[in-house]
Amino acid sequence: MWMYILAVTAAVLSLLVGISTGSLSIPFSSIVRILAAEWFGAALPRHIPADWVPIVMAIRLPRVVLAFLVGASLALAGAAFQGLLKNALADPYTLGVSSGASVGAVLVIFLGWQWPFFGTFTLPVVSILFGMATLAAVLAFTRAVERRMSVETIILAGIIFGAFFSAFISLMIALTGEELRQIISWLMGSVAMRGWKYSGLLLPFFLVGAAVLIANSRELNAFAFGEAAALHVGVDVTRRKVIILTAAALLTGAAVSVSGTIGFVGLVVPHMVRLVCGPNYRVLLPLSLLYGGAFLVLADVAARTIIEPRELPIGVITALIGAPLFAVLFFRKMKRKMG
């Protein structure tokens, strides 16, 4: 129980820090008052300047919420992939779905598409459509190769599709002129200047994906002992595998389509949670969700404050903070095990 309280506290604190930090620093108490006033109609105290309200509500809140949802989605997907594929190096991008989503996004920038009605929102929509098409293709290919859909086949199929789509992206980068900067910065990932619409696009995928994965905690635990063991205790192996893969891939595709390919969160957050709380998915999934979200919110804070007023790519920051943090945890865990 204490583990959940700690994680929820960390998540709430990270959100407050994310809203509070910026060129204009806003104290926590004021943030709480503003939120109370906006959501529950409480009176706004005199001492809070009125122009803080749009800064919190229209600029910072959507940004931290998006960062949180993206981080949570990637960490959940990473945890699921690592367990299902029984591969510590698996991350949300293993299956190639992110590459597919990226092709969609880069294509939109490359061709300068702006669909009527969608406007700038064309990019995430095209991206997620590409992501889902990729997932369908990978699963269909795996099934065609082998009806049982073994883990090895899935990983290989993901690598094949991923490499193919990466080549497409490189091709577009090579052919483009004007849009190079835009493409590269999208690929490195960002949650800046997105507004509520992007969170709105991600939210349904997040809710469904998270619920499906958490509902499959016991199956994921069984898969951790190998496919044969899962079968022996009565798991409908192929069906569950497709369900879990689909949920995790949708989380990934949706996250990539709204924020680009932010690395490291999905790989390392589940590992860090595992080091502290053990491998049981009933605990691992909710905690990965909370810590993944908190981690990305804080990474975003660092990305926009380190060399203010310029912003660094968030994908760079996740690795810059994440790698040393992981190294310390890993080192201490191994020492305790050996000593």
Binding site: K86, A215, R218, N221, A222, A224, F225, G226, A228, A229, L231, H232, V233, G234, V235, D236, V237, R274, G278, P279, N280
Partner: protein, 489 residues
């Protein structure tokens, strides 16, 4: 019937691994599947456990067709203990065993019920891991981990338990503990067990019936004692196999015949030497011995025969332990030595050899008849404490003796000895009748087990006749020496 397998065939590509295999296993039976590598035993288990799709034939578990069972339904009826389970780092014993409750849980977010907890506790108790419930799996020994997986299988509360070489990577104590627990659990719960065995001895000890597979076909099916014949096993495993009787269980035991050339070790290679208080016979190569000696009784392989002299006042209360210490002190390996005791002066030991055309026989004997007994009237005696044997004899035969020949050699030697006593007019002092021996005689019959094979050693055979004569002469001679020394005193 708990399990029915009907005309099941399976092929990997062009290779036929199972060919119309049919058998049935009854409720509560421990059923073994034996066979060499590639005989199809693991494939058979994988077909029953739905790991492989069933292409031809039919499998029925407790009256229900395998194809009609969902994964969960199957797991409520049957459980599997695999050969090696993949490691899942970080999981505790509790979390591992709790997975066994999966098939009994329903709904998206099932609660852990009292039934689940009871089944888990029960399973852990059955495998003796209750104390390790919160240990991470990687901190258990290999045997304990395998028992944790057995507990997971038991937590499924199955009617049928499938095992694929469950003791493959375990040491002896781990194997025995796992199999004992398994047999106990099977008995207590009325569980049917179908197990693939690599080890013929484990199969023979624990199975009610065994199925022997060879190249995908049934080679034999029945009780281990009936079907596990050396001829069949030699054919199936393509290796020379010997079958013995287990000393404590009414089951056969098996070993290999190494294809090892033994050096020539004729009886001439024997050496008789004397210590202060013992006559020692040393062989160049181990001899197979059947004896009633104090040390190394029964069938044994031995290189030394020690006939130790003790005083008439020797305290017999721990003769065996004392003899063992004596052998160790004098540098004789107790596991390869046949040790006897006598009150007779060992310097009077008689050593006779006879070279026949096809065989040679030698006898070492010491005799004293202070406590001579007529075996037919010994019931008239007061029960006496055992005293050092006074006619000790070691018979060595150069040749291969069957077990029957060993027993006949013992009979022949004993009869010859009794006749020698009679001819020397040795009487039982209590009954006054002719004595047949003394109250604590020892006899060892040893054979080199190389060269000519002797199926029999009774008095109808040349060997038996030579043996009887030699024993007779040696006994008479030894008695004469004993008599002489007694008169001198």
């Amino acid at each position: 019937m708990m399990l029915e397998v009907r005309a099941v065939s399976h092929r990997y590509g062009p290779k036929q691994v199972l060919d119309r295999v049919t058998f049935a296993v009854e409720k509560g039976e421990i059923f073994g599947i034996l066979g060499p590598n590639g005989s199809g035993k693991t494939t058979l288990i994988k077909l029953i456990s739905k790991e492989l799709p069933l292409a031809s034939g039919e499998i029925v578990i407790d009256g229900r067709k395998l194809s009609a069972l969902s994964a969960k339904q199957w797991a409520r009826m049957a459980a599997v203990l695999p050969q090696t389970a993949e490691a899942a780092p970080g999981y505790t014993v509790r979390e591992t065993v709790a997975l066994g409750r999966y098939p009994h849980q329903r709904g998206f977010f099932p609660t852990w019920t009292e039934d689940d907890e009871a089944a888990l506790r029960d399973a852990l108790a059955a495998v003796g891991l209750t104390g390790k419930i919160d240990e991470p799996l990687e901190r258990l020994s290999g045997g304990e981990r395998q028992r944790a997986y057995l507990a997971r299988a038991l937590a499924q509360e199955p009617k049928l338990l499938l095992l694929d070489e469950p003791t493959n990577h375990m040491d002896v104590s781990g194997q025995v503990r796992l199999l004992d627990r398994l047999a106990e659990a099977a008995h207590a719960r009325g569980l049917t067990v179908v197990a693939v065995f690599h080890d013929m001895n484990a199969a023979s000890l624990y199975c009610d019936r065994v199925l022997v597979l060879n190249k995908g076909k049934i080679a034999a099916l029945g009780a281990p004692a009936d079907v596990m014949t050396p001829a069949l096993l030699e054919e199936v495993f393509a290796a020379p196999i010997v079958r013995l009787a287990h000393p404590a269980s009414a089951t056969p035991m098996f070993s290999f015949m190494p294809n090892k050339k033994q050096g020539e070790s004729p009886v001439g290679g024997l050496r008789l030497s004397f210590l202060d208080d013992a006559a020692v016979l040393t062989a160049a190569a181990p001899l197979r011995v059947l004896s009633s000696a104090l040390i190394g009784a029964g069938f044994q392989w031995a290189t030394h025969f020690v006939n130790r002299q003790v005083g008439l006042d020797y305290d017999c209360s721990d003769a065996e332990g004392d003899m063992r210490r004596y052998l160790e002190q004098h540098g004789f390996p107790p596991e390869r030595t046949v040790g006897m005791m006598t009150a007779v002066d060992v310097r009077d030991a008689v050593w006779l050899q006879k070279e026949g055309e096809a065989f040679s026989v030698a006898v070492m004997a010491t005799a004293g008849v202070g406590n001579a007994v007529d075996a037919a009237r010994a019931w008239q005696h007061q029960p006496l404490a055992a005293r050092p044997g006074t006619i000790n004899m070691v018979v060595v035969i150069d040749g291969v003796l069957t077990e029957a020949a060993f027993v006949q050699a013992v009979m022949t030697a004993t009869e010859a000895k009794a006749k020698a006593l009679a001819d020397c007019s040795v009487c039982d002092p209590e009954t006054g009748t002719l004595a047949t021996g003394t109250s604590t005689d020892s006899l060892a019959v040893a054979a080199t087990q190389t060269g000519q094979v002797f199926a029999y050693a009774g008095t109808a055979t040349e060997l038996g006749r030579a043996l009887g004569r030699l024993v007779y002469e040696a006994t008479v001679e030894a008695l004469g020496r004993w008599e002489k020394r007694r008169k001198r005193r």
